[in-house]
Symmetry: C2
Subunit: 211 residues, 2 copies
Amino acid sequence: MEEISKESLQRLPSYLRYLKQLHESNVTHVSSTNIAERLYLNPVSVRKELAFVSVAGGKPKTGFKVVELIKEISSFLGYNNVKDAVIVGVGKLGSALIGYKGFDAYGLKIVACFDNNKAIQSTQSSDKPVFDIHKMPDLVNRLNVKIGIITVPSNSAQEVCDLMIESGIKAIWNFSPTQLVTPSNIAVKNEDMAASLAVLSKQLDKILENE
Amino acid sequence: MEEISKESLQRLPSYLRYLKQLHESNVTHVSSTNIAERLYLNPVSVRKELAFVSVAGGKPKTGFKVVELIKEISSFLGYNNVKDAVIVGVGKLGSALIGYKGFDAYGLKIVACFDNNKAIQSTQSSDKPVFDIHKMPDLVNRLNVKIGIITVPSNSAQEVCDLMIESGIKAIWNFSPTQLVTPSNIAVKNEDMAASLAVLSKQLDKILENE
DNA sequence: TAGATTGTTAATCGATTAACAATC
DNA sequence: TAGATTGTTAATCGATTAACAATC
């Protein structure tokens, strides 16, 4: 089977959010055109992507069953099976992520938090205990955790990354502004605020020019 | 002149970070090949993008002057002129963004924080004062702020967005997991964690399959 | 039946990569 | 001079959009 494109994959969560809204408003059916309009997308893209993830498919004239689509997209995105993750770096951003309730809905479960700062370890800035970083390898190994979240300052990010890989982590979600060096069999997703800001900033410039 | 692509724009900040690293290590020259290797990019992409932003250009055999490139990319990305922004929502994520020192380097200055929670307004979770949301329109107007950052829960994001637009904000950086409804003359950049996680998660699945 | 909507094939568009002459 | 590297043109690849038959 053909693979889904990265772009499509990134759009699916937004479909899901919209579908859940519809469901809460007791809307039972929706057309691809409607979804496209609401999310500012091309209707053909939406149709293709829905055709890709939906077994049931839609019916001409009536569209798709909202409940059905919610189930199918959730399952396609793997929201039903829990994915364990560890997070290293319990500063402000780390704490914010740890406290974020939304991850449950995505099937992501942060099973342990690490920081090398003794003060943070004792204060328990979140409801979860914070362990010393040296305990990470053993825990990751024992619990067979595959996802690591990095929220440490740039200068220690690579070190943390190396330790994660040594411990058996296979996917790294990197929130520190550094380009990590990793072997090719490790998945890395950089959350690059500077990149986002660059795009937003250029868009703004264009808008201001046209006024 | 032809425009730079969105993809290129997103890559430039990572070039800049690498160039600054080189500069700190007293490296004076760098080739596009070297940059490409370090950032896992195609060397032709890098050459094209550098040709686009650099007036000075590179010299065959020696490459580009690191200091020169740093200046040129910084200026291209507008890091030298300060862009004022307001942020609404001083919860955990909002506080983390407010406290983030890195924005200075990108020319982004958060000039005011807002929240409708009286408790947050008084505790000053950051070093900056937190104002009541009702004071936003006047301040945005007086200071001619164009960028608004949304870090409120989903259910109030649209409301905040509308108020920002009314106040004269033209670019919105949205950290809440909602699709905002906005007119076409407003720039919106969604920071969608679910989208990132979807990509990372599929990459991980592929890696685990091949083992 | 008429019309809205699906699903798919074909056409277009844009970004990435390959190839190569120019040059320090 | 030889070789590394630039800058650019051409070829490829993939994603988006247009067009349209099928169908409820």
